[in-house]
Symmetry: C2
Subunit: 181 residues, 2 copies
């Protein structure tokens, strides 16, 4: 697994345009954000807040779905992608108490999470980090990168996901919108 | 999630009878083992080695399987269970590169991991801890407790699991046999 730290503070490659609490407690305001993906979790006395996660194996994606994703998903750090978003999410105890087939059922059969995401590829690049097992305040940190012209598409993507049954199990969600410095 | 530390050293509730490398590198010898399940990962200057993990949600068990497990699985720390085993396992990169449906297919359809385990309940109590996302040397720590009279059953259980296709993906496995002090 590869570790990541998102550090919010007075410096970083991304300028924070807004921090909104979609559900539950918000995160403190800061000016900049840095995504630090590497060997160790970063720590910084200057940081306003730090969120840690790991790139790990897929938990719900099936083989055929992965093939469709891989065929269209772009890399991060495209020169054209001057907008980004970080969306930390925590799901409820009820979600984690479901068995694997029940969670998969809500995730894709009912909520079409993978299928909806596919519709916005390659415009909206996405990377998922896991943090539940780390004892962090969130379960997932999802990072999105897109061009300014695709902002409306990104808005639509997150709006559609939030309208699904899967989101009934989201108990905390913060949306951080960013612009490349 | 609930954290656990297994601490091997000169004291602990369990006497280490043997430490065997089933596959890959072994662990250093020590006299005692303590299972510390609580809020923080334990650290100890006296420890010969420490392994950390978390009790987390189930990754493969379906609803119907969980119901069958819950109906027969015993608690830990039964007065009659004077024998225990700790089996840390690391799986290969090839395993983690499989999609969820492929891993589930190897795990149960091909290897009958859940079904085999069910045959040894309630004799052999079992608790699984996850540690892959923690960056630990192993991916899982499985803890077993059973009565001395069920030692042959436990031997058979681990022997049957090691003969499955799932075990083709195990690249490190250590078996630590214990007796209650």
């Amino acid at each position: 697994v590869t570790r990541v730290t998102f550090a919010a503070g007075s410096s970083g490659d991304w300028l924070i345009e807004s921090i909104s609490a979609v559900r539950g407690e918000e995160l403190p305001r800061a000016r900049h954000l840095q995504r630090l993906e590497g060997e160790a979790f970063a720590s910084s006395a200057q940081a306003v807040w730090l969120l840690n996660g790991v790139r790990s194996h897929e938990r719900y994606v099936h083989r055929d779905e992965r093939e469709r994703l891989v065929a269209v998903q772009p890399p991060l750090e495209r020169a054209t992608a001057d907008r980004a978003a970080l969306i930390p999410i925590r799901k409820s105890t009820a979600w984690w108490a479901l068995a694997q087939d029940e969670r998969r059922g809500v995730f894709e059969a009912e909520s079409r999470h993978i299928s909806i995401g596919l519709e916005y590829l390659p415009a909206v690049a996405r990377r998922l980090y896991h943090c539940r097992d780390l004892g962090e305040p969130f379960d997932f940190l999802t990072w999105f990168e897109y061009a300014e012209a695709d902002t409306a598409a990104f808005d639509e993507l997150v709006g559609r996901l939030r309208a699904t049954r899967e989101w009934d199990f989201v108990e905390r969600e913060v949306e951080i919108r960013l612009r490349r410095v």
